[in-house]
Symmetry: T
Subunit: 167 residues, 12 copies
Amino acid sequence: MLRRIGVESHLVMSRAAEITLGYESEMTADQVRALADHAHSVDNIAAPPASGSFRTLGMIVAPCSIRTMSEIASGVTTSLLTRAADVTLKERRRLVLMVRETPLHAGHLRTMLNLTEMGAVIAPPVPGFYARPQSLDDLVEHTAGRALDLFGLDCGTLRRWGESGGA
Amino acid sequence: MLRRIGVESHLVMSRAAEITLGYESEMTADQVRALADHAHSVDNIAAPPASGSFRTLGMIVAPCSIRTMSEIASGVTTSLLTRAADVTLKERRRLVLMVRETPLHAGHLRTMLNLTEMGAVIAPPVPGFYARPQSLDDLVEHTAGRALDLFGLDCGTLRRWGESGGA
Amino acid sequence: MLRRIGVESHLVMSRAAEITLGYESEMTADQVRALADHAHSVDNIAAPPASGSFRTLGMIVAPCSIRTMSEIASGVTTSLLTRAADVTLKERRRLVLMVRETPLHAGHLRTMLNLTEMGAVIAPPVPGFYARPQSLDDLVEHTAGRALDLFGLDCGTLRRWGESGGA
Amino acid sequence: MLRRIGVESHLVMSRAAEITLGYESEMTADQVRALADHAHSVDNIAAPPASGSFRTLGMIVAPCSIRTMSEIASGVTTSLLTRAADVTLKERRRLVLMVRETPLHAGHLRTMLNLTEMGAVIAPPVPGFYARPQSLDDLVEHTAGRALDLFGLDCGTLRRWGESGGA
Amino acid sequence: MLRRIGVESHLVMSRAAEITLGYESEMTADQVRALADHAHSVDNIAAPPASGSFRTLGMIVAPCSIRTMSEIASGVTTSLLTRAADVTLKERRRLVLMVRETPLHAGHLRTMLNLTEMGAVIAPPVPGFYARPQSLDDLVEHTAGRALDLFGLDCGTLRRWGESGGA
Amino acid sequence: MLRRIGVESHLVMSRAAEITLGYESEMTADQVRALADHAHSVDNIAAPPASGSFRTLGMIVAPCSIRTMSEIASGVTTSLLTRAADVTLKERRRLVLMVRETPLHAGHLRTMLNLTEMGAVIAPPVPGFYARPQSLDDLVEHTAGRALDLFGLDCGTLRRWGESGGA
Amino acid sequence: MLRRIGVESHLVMSRAAEITLGYESEMTADQVRALADHAHSVDNIAAPPASGSFRTLGMIVAPCSIRTMSEIASGVTTSLLTRAADVTLKERRRLVLMVRETPLHAGHLRTMLNLTEMGAVIAPPVPGFYARPQSLDDLVEHTAGRALDLFGLDCGTLRRWGESGGA
Amino acid sequence: MLRRIGVESHLVMSRAAEITLGYESEMTADQVRALADHAHSVDNIAAPPASGSFRTLGMIVAPCSIRTMSEIASGVTTSLLTRAADVTLKERRRLVLMVRETPLHAGHLRTMLNLTEMGAVIAPPVPGFYARPQSLDDLVEHTAGRALDLFGLDCGTLRRWGESGGA
Amino acid sequence: MLRRIGVESHLVMSRAAEITLGYESEMTADQVRALADHAHSVDNIAAPPASGSFRTLGMIVAPCSIRTMSEIASGVTTSLLTRAADVTLKERRRLVLMVRETPLHAGHLRTMLNLTEMGAVIAPPVPGFYARPQSLDDLVEHTAGRALDLFGLDCGTLRRWGESGGA
Amino acid sequence: MLRRIGVESHLVMSRAAEITLGYESEMTADQVRALADHAHSVDNIAAPPASGSFRTLGMIVAPCSIRTMSEIASGVTTSLLTRAADVTLKERRRLVLMVRETPLHAGHLRTMLNLTEMGAVIAPPVPGFYARPQSLDDLVEHTAGRALDLFGLDCGTLRRWGESGGA
Amino acid sequence: MLRRIGVESHLVMSRAAEITLGYESEMTADQVRALADHAHSVDNIAAPPASGSFRTLGMIVAPCSIRTMSEIASGVTTSLLTRAADVTLKERRRLVLMVRETPLHAGHLRTMLNLTEMGAVIAPPVPGFYARPQSLDDLVEHTAGRALDLFGLDCGTLRRWGESGGA
Amino acid sequence: MLRRIGVESHLVMSRAAEITLGYESEMTADQVRALADHAHSVDNIAAPPASGSFRTLGMIVAPCSIRTMSEIASGVTTSLLTRAADVTLKERRRLVLMVRETPLHAGHLRTMLNLTEMGAVIAPPVPGFYARPQSLDDLVEHTAGRALDLFGLDCGTLRRWGESGGA
């Protein structure tokens, strides 16, 4: 999607993400990496995204596990992924976390609230049925489009409420 | 589902839910009402669920809009739906809110945290891809099954993690 | 009671109060209205009590439902009744809320605490058995007398602790 | 009531309760003690209810004075009564406090909120007029029935809202 | 004003606003509506501004009553007006609330503080006498100009401090 | 106005107020001083209003800058003006602050909330258009009349809501 | 002093106060009791000041030990003295606590802050040297006079700042 | 113990626990594992206890180090052990943490308080000397018995306070 | 122990401690008292430890019941024991509380946190198994030695971690 | 006093202190300055006490006005006096503030609590009558002696509680 | 630097800054002033930066003393410098504070946290050694470059992490 | 430095520190280790500094990364380095953290505040230019000297403010 609108992308993938990918999807980790302009090893804490002087529009973590979210909130950043998110916050750039956990307990919600107060955007990937998705792919695409919206990026594929309606 | 396991169900449907139903689904409000054992008008604040002396296992609000969630949290209960939820909390019974909003701002999260501290369970209907759903219906069924789990009810249709795996 | 001591009274009655009246008492809404010097429609948000420049001693809400209490606390004042209470608070006049709900959950109590910090007096109409009431009417009269006490008004019918005792 | 449904009862009566009983009721303290299966002296801090290893369904304090409520909330438990309540909370059993004070100030409400967050249920014995009580005894019986409801105990004498109504 | 600088405007007018307009101004509600590019009925919760996927620069609520402010802060959004404001906040767009109430009590201020923490801008329409207004119209125009400033929009009619002075 | 109702007035004028007066009004500082019964130099921290033993009805600060408001809230009272306000609060007398700043940030609002909790009344001089002011002078007079209302003083010139209407 | 201005006084003296009196003063407890219009035993929790229906101007606790202050703040009121203070607060009457402890730790200050938020006035009996006391008796008299000031009572013996000075 | 009462047990052992075991006990890690019905590798984050759909009575962590407790509280769950505890909390099942650290600093206590508010039970394994233990084994057995009590499980070996005493 | 290192000890023993001693130990209260250099009656609130001007290194409360801990935290100090602890805190000397309660509820933990913020050290007497105790006496001695460590006192009998190991 | 025990003293005197001195005492500012080993001008923000690298035992501010206390608490340090106090806190040295204000409002108490949490000691110069002072000088000397106690300094002139009594 | 990238600069220099400059640098205050496009006297509170209607990109305070930071946080703005910073915050523009104090106490950190919540960026000028500075000038230049980064301004002289590395 | 003043030093070096050392300095990790009296592997959680019974003056972490600081604050101590810091805090010994991060976001500051409340000292290594450093080495030495000051250790090489000046 980002290629279509000329934005350079950097990818960091956690080890848990690689494992989960095996359970939940048909793609391999390498196939996913190939979709990004740059892919960094999650252990390479000396990679550019770990430094505030490396300029970015911001960062999306999708999907975002409770552990990843909690590392960012607490500052206990054990990988490039969460260190980069911490840097994104301190440089006051946009950080979107698509947290995929349910139900939530008080600790989860307090962490989400803290992150929001630190400038992050908590965006659970809840399906938007008002767009009448026809398939799981529709769901995923709509969710991704809405996340890019938060950066002011428009891929052109998002069906907007009232678009064909007007006022 | 509940009929299958012999639990009596009561349904209250908000006006906004009826409108949204038209946008998002093929079913009519009456078809939905017919699935419940009892259906109460959302304006009937003298209906049984509005009183603490009427005994229930608890209550699920699905989907739960920001307005409905906020009415319960603030106590500004303008309908039978939210009055019944308030009663559920004061009688210390289980209340599950499947909040379907994204992204969330600090106000939403503070409300969710308050509700959790009041005893409610916030459960966004995020799809569980680890169960490898084949269709949107799979998604919905899995989400519903997980909500009933919180009441200790088992419909027998939920595919559980590790069920075929063991330890 | 107020007539006996020469204080002018204004009455606002919520729709829910009218309904509840039917369930719990022998009086009609009109009979109740006739007891006040002035009665205002709950929808008339342009009535005098809605403005701070209209001078009053304060306001009693009795009985006070959770919804009414919550509207005042949150500022979501959907009627003349709760708008007038909000005005009473901002003009730093006395506001007494006789909240009739039991049991109470954390949300109710937080709301009551907030209202107290905003200057309101939470006074649940708990019967004072130390006055050895002989009937339900005694209970009600005693409760009302104690509420007026908070305005420095004395109807002369309240039996006071130690009155016949001394020190 | 509890005898009727086969639940064993233990009674602890504070000295203030004995004094108040003299003022407010026709019964003597001994008559009240005789109604319980076991009665413990309020000074006997070595009695079974003072230990977590003594198993109970929970505890009701009725009526509950501000001092008793405050001892439980602060942990300054000067008698068997409040020590037993503290143990009930630490073992995560149900504790119901029928607080009989009005009006309430910020300190009272903060204490109630703290107790609720510690797991207790604050239940002021406000009369439920919707059940159209005919006498003071009706009031008291209804209040007691509602308290037992919080333990899942049903004495069969509680008139429930909508019972004769249905949906 | 917005037309002059080529920004498309959408108008939602609350029922209370229509009533107040009658009391305070010579214009009718329809005349006001005609000034906007699009006007939406306050009951039409399916209108575009109710959805996050409808892109806007943000939203001004002027004047903003305590009830409207409180609906946005609590999430109890009973109309298109406050629902649209909620959406503006969750999409992290600018929301300016010109709250016209005085004096303010602790509840009002706590609500304003919460809204500010949620990203809104509280801007009471206090007259700026340093611009030496010659009439009420000057006051109103200056106030409106300052609000647009918060969106980075400059109508060219705002007399700025030091403009003719320099440093 | 106060002379008309026989209340003795004391005036303290900050240096910033004198400067602002030059920018915003036709009156000189001496003309303003002549309107008060007593005028104290802002540097005279030994003047009567600096002591709690000097009895007053209370104090109005109008207009009240952010600096003046903040000195009172923080206790960093650098002049007679703010020291007198601090004394007014500690003696539990009425203090009204007509804060003239817009927009407000979180720090301003937190300060206002703290002051309110300390007993002060925050009253931004927002014009009350419901009184249909014909000129800027009308605005100012109405604002002053409402402030005196908070002391229970009535100058007789305030047009009250519903005054000609009644109920 | 109070006799001089015709105010009826009630005295409650704690056991610790009696002991301290022996250490610090030449007077006996009985001599102190004789100065009051009514003296109540500190154990008599059925005395008039223990009930809200007994009307008073308020209450002064002088000197006020940490234990007494803490009993009032926590609600653990073990005597008539502290029960009466709790009642004074719930009836929204003036309560002045002349706390005589130094230094203060965080717990003491938090308690003082809580009491202030509950409506009490914390007034440590710090000597006011600006009145140039000539003896310890002057100190004590001045301190007492300032406390009565908080009730709007003037004994006529208090030398006020600026009294002989004027403005 | 659990085998005796027919409850199926699952064991997860942290690496630190294995090391500590070597220091403090005669048993090997394998011997401990053999006592459980199922033992899971602490690195196997795909094991059943990591999923909410796997149903359990709850979980005991004994002994519980500060690191383990902190991982659960913060959500930074680096192993199956703490991930399973997080899941236990979100599914609202019982979680007992036998924290073995002394002394405690403010951070430890804040974490314990947060965990308690999230639903966990903090139970330091403090020896209960009132049961007059004769050996270290008695201490350990008593501690374990009390923990199972919190699940409503009774192994029959726990000597209870007053058991041989009665009331 | 303290005698061995030449530190003068003062003992205060609560009545509850005397009772508990009978249940849990072979020693009598008098035997315990004989071990201290000075023993004070718990009722003697005029004893030296009740005054800040009496200089000490600090104070250990062992074991510390919930009631004792709570009296210190709330300031409701009903005996010499807790009054002396309050004085220890206000003079900024070390206070160690060996709290022996399990499990803990939110109220207990909040009290512990407050005490820690007031300068106390919460040190539950959890056995340190890493020192491989051979008997209950070893446990008790180790616990006592660790408490003295907090005062910088070394009895020479404490086996330290790594003592025989080095780095 | 300090000279007697060989501690070097530095004096900083605020302008307000000089003025107050004139009102309350017979000494001149220069006489006071002569008592110190070093005296610094309050405007000399480059004097040694303004730097953390200048080593001291700590600092006493006596008497301490609300303004001085508030400057230290807020960090708005407008003189050498308050800058030095800020440095004392950041270097974790003892700071004693003898605050002489009465009564206190919520703002004062919140400031005192904040300062205590920052490490300062709030010590109002309340006379200690238990030492049976014979004159104002006795009061002052006793107060000063107690302040030095907080630094572990003993001038030998302080009459201690129980000194002639023992246990 | 700013000239190089065509941004107009305004300078306000505090009196303390001028003094410190003398101690720490070779430049005079006038030399510094000459580097800016506009320099305003710190006393000129009528200068353009004191008004919200004067449009700017934002403001950097470097170095920022504790006093300056605290004036902005508390609103006690005694100069043009801090008034301009307050205005920057209320207009929601970027404010960067390069606070140069170490160590920090709780009050400093609370102030920094409050400022961050008000929208400011706290950026201590800690040297970035990862850029391998060769001299003090390198340190200063790097620090300044990073500050401009927060405004999206790039002077071209900042050596960025990974710039010569890539991914 | 420490050797010069006869203090035994223990060194723990994190893996990230070793990596960073390579980027930022000419020294190898082994050269750094050789400077300490004892060096412990960061993985050896059984080393002496991990136990409270090992006595130390305290601990300095320099430089301290956000991850290290956050591990200590949250208790998620993954190495000997942070476990030792946790122990230092619980034994109430001095812990100094030289945090080297800029800018800081709300999460960082909240963590710093929490650590300060737990007893740690946050000391960013901001260069002290008032000592007119001639080189980077001067900067580093001055920073280290100031840190030792916090332990009351004086290496004799620190140039102190006013040392050559006096008062």
